[in-house]
């Protein structure tokens, strides 16, 4: 059946029910159609395909809204009497297009119902079931194509959802999907494709492959977002600002704050880009940064371990080079070169790692870094952002507000242990501990994925 691909889907419904929004959300882009809170925003039929393995699999055809179904059905009814098949009646009606200028938009829709494999009938569940909607369904069903009703705007106040469900059952439409185009849910999208599988049996296998590919993409997307945030946390935890003696602390504090905010904004741009949103989807509020003061602590367990291992390996390398010299003199030097090499290696390693810090400490230099509260807030803000954007349709008009994401309002799982570990990375010796750094990053990614 793959020869018949792409599957053509006409997105139909009353005006202003969110048809273009549905297409945008399924395409995951804001660059489709025009969305306004008024009647007749979409006046032409516009199509875009969702690709699977580089080939079009689903072609979504956004149609103008049906505005006057009562009058339309009045016109259609006498024609349906003359034709035994609804499709023939529709074709006969469309043939008189030139004589029906009032129904220009409706005829565009009817043409698509005939051309497409299935119809997605978008319903605004804030509206009660009115007679005009019944007429719409009767007109659309003449095309003899499967209709999947999509219940939109169900997240906030689905007053009429039950009523709609019953009305659709009365109309013999059982493959109903609840899909809010503003409050997006990946599960709802999957169910929509599953319903399509049910009504379009011929396309079962390509749709199954598509569902699996879409699932994998979604998982990958979440993982990429988590990686991006983990990367930010690592960089923020490693930020250090030196304050030489005599320099005002305020200037260094401001530099640290600017660096942190720049890092967060860079991450924000990356996330928006990954999720195909734009800056207009968020209302960025500066991160309140409070700084902590870093103290040289050779005996912090991770630092101590890294320092020990690094020094030992440097000593071993020095000893190995010295041993080469001992070998050159056939051992006559009695290992003096090995011993000297080991001592030099250990010394070099210590000076390389702590020389700058020790000199700084001796000269009264201070080192500023982010405190745990700021790191925690940064993690909470980014997690809230990801949670909001992953549940946001590409037609949503309200903005995500960073000011609402604070650690006081934190309902997320406890981050204190994780932040404490990340905070340890302000110590350069800990930064050298590759396994510790990798482990913390993995923990951050895992935590994020769980939170999403």
């Amino acid at each position: 059946m793959t020869d018949n691909l792409p599957i053509l889907l006409a997105v139909v419904g009353h005006t202003n029910t969110g048809k273009t929004s549905l297409v945008r959300t399924l395409l995951r882009t804001e660059r489709f159609g025009d969305i306004r809170n008024s009647a007749g925003t979409t006046r032409h039929v516009e199509a875009a395909s969702i690709l699977c393995d580089g080939k079009p699999l689903l072609e979504l055809r956004d149609t103008p809204g049906l505005e006057d179904s009562v009058a339309l059905f009045d016109q259609l009814q006498p024609i349906t009497v003359k034709h035994s098949h609804g499709r023939d009646a529709l074709q006969a009606f469309i043939a008189h297009e030139a004589e029906l200028p009032d129904f220009e938009q409706e005829i565009k829709v009817l043409k698509q119902t005939l051309a497409c494999h299935a119809l997605l009938y978008v319903i605004d569940c804030r509206e009660p079931v009115l007679e005009k909607y019944v007429f719409e369904l009767r007109a659309l069903s003449l095309a003899g194509r499967p209709i999947i009703p999509v219940l939109n705007f169900i997240a906030d106040n689905p007053v009429h959802k039950k009523e709609w469900r019953q009305a659709l059952i009365n109309f013999n439409l059982h493959a109903v999907v609840e899909f809010d185009t503003v409050a997006f849910s990946f599960d709802a999208e999957r169910r929509l494709y599953e319903k399509l599988q049910t009504v379009l049996e011929d396309f079962y296998t390509p749709l199954q492959n598509f569902i699996e590919a879409r699932n994998a993409q979604w998982t990958q997307l979440k993982h990429s977002c988590a990686e991006t945030v983990a990367d930010l946390m690592m960089k923020a935890a490693m930020l250090r600002e030196r304050v030489p003696q005599g320099e005002p602390l305020q200037a260094a504090t401001e530099r640290l704050q600017q660096q942190t905010r720049a890092l967060e904004q860079k991450t924000l741009r990356k996330i928006l880009d990954l999720l195909q949103f734009s800056q207009s989807d968020v209302n960025y509020v500066d991160l309140p940064v409070s700084n902590g003061q870093w103290q040289l602590d050779l005996f912090a367990p991770e630092a101590f371990k890294t320092f020990g291992v690094n020094t030992a390996s440097a000593a071993a390398t020095g000893a190995a080079i010295g041993a080469g010299l001992d070998l050159l003199v056939a051992g006559m030097s009695l290992g003096a070169a090995s011993l000297t090499g080991a001592a030099l290696g250990a010394g070099w390693s210590t000076v390389k790692r702590y020389g700058r810090e020790l000199i700084g400490k001796a000269s009264g230099e201070q080192v500023l870094c982010l405190d745990q509260a700021t790191l925690s807030l940064l993690l909470v803000r980014q997690t809230r952002l990801l949670q909001a954007l992953l549940r946001r349709g590409h037609a949503a008009q309200n903005r995500f507000d960073f000011s609402g994401a604070s650690s006081e309002k934190n309902e997320l799982a406890d981050t204190s242990a994780l932040i404490k570990r990340a905070h340890k990375m302000q110590n350069p010796a800990v930064q050298d501990n590759e396994s510790f750094v990798t482990q913390v990053k993995t923990e951050l990614v895992d935590w994020q994925i769980r939170a999403l």
Partner: protein
Amino acid sequence: MEARVKLTFQQKTELEQIRAIEENCVPLASKPLRAEHFNGYLSARLEHLLRDHSLKKTLERPRRFYRLLFGLLLLVAALAGTAATFKAVAGPAQTLNVFWILVVLLGFNCLSFLLWLVLTLVSPNKKAGPLGNLFNDLLRSTLHRIHNTCQARNADAAWLQNTFAGPVGRWQLGVMTHCAWLAYLGAGLLALLLILATRQYDFIWGSTLLSDTTYAHITAWLAAPMHALGWPVVTQEQVSLSQMGQPTANLAGARTGWAWFLMGSLLLYGLLPRLVAWLLCLILRKISAHRWQLNTHLPYYLQLQRVWQPPFSNATVLDADQHPPGASATRAENLRTQLPEGALLIGLELQNSGETVKAAVNVCDTKTADQAATLIAQSKAPVVLLSDAHKVPDRGLLRAAKNLLASRPGDQRWLAVIKHESSDDHFEQWLAATPALGLPPQQCILVADNDR
């Protein structure tokens, strides 16, 4: 259909180098490329970037530098092996202590080999460890001193990370060290062969601490595998005769045997284990390199996947709008806010105003529309059509309104739009629609829901 492309370790490393450059320096423009699989795309893109941006030299620089250093290391090892042999063997003395020479040539090698073996067997993590990091640091700092552009710095760091960190780095270091020892021992063996071929030595042994039989046994154990392999070795009688204090004349027959024993020991206990270990490291390095995968969850690769296979096609207009609506210029100025006294109130699909607005009838289907028409026909009072502000004035609704007002003279037609708190407001659209209803804008009333 294109076969699934397997990326070589070198390609994967170069891709990581390109990633480091693009993420930290500048994104590199690439022409659109077609490929069946993502790996094929990555490979083609790499090829193009190397050619179009002249990056070959930058990416190869760390590898070339490493090869140069490795060559130097082998040279130094070979020189050390030769020098050690000459120092141990070539001298004014005509007698050589067999076991002293063996200790000089094989002692340190055996110790370091055992150390490597133990660490390889017991080390739980599969990473290169501190020695790899140290080598990494040394190479990086040297490379930075030579050429320190953003591209070079990042390409170097990515190459070093891939080559000397992680599981590949562990075996890479093994390959290097075993190869160096092979050079040391090989050069030592050649030097020994040269010396023994050109000069005549008497081989002796002796001990103050150990018994005579101990040495005889050690020699027998060491010689047994050589003997089994058909290698000429000293006999027990020759071993006894070579003990210190024996007349040197008796050693004449043992010279060749001891020389072969010495070279056999170097081969069997020095070169052969190193060769096996080197081959093992080489194979494991290849396996690790083959198994090592690019982290395609990284945002960078996700973006590349979208370039390779866009998730959706560009939108196209299938059925264009031939009669776009003109812009309306009706302005809301000095509007009434009170309903006219004694007017007949007719609702238009009123939803939330049912309890507060006493409409004589709420038009929401054909039946109620007929009821409203009858009421209007029976009444002489001005007619006020009531609509909710959140309701979109679609053509159907406007047609119904027009029909209801048709029988009334112009000054007795009114439209009242009820504005509710926290609802979308389409008042401006209702106002713009007044000419279509035959109403002057002054006869449009804005009623706030809480006013009534």
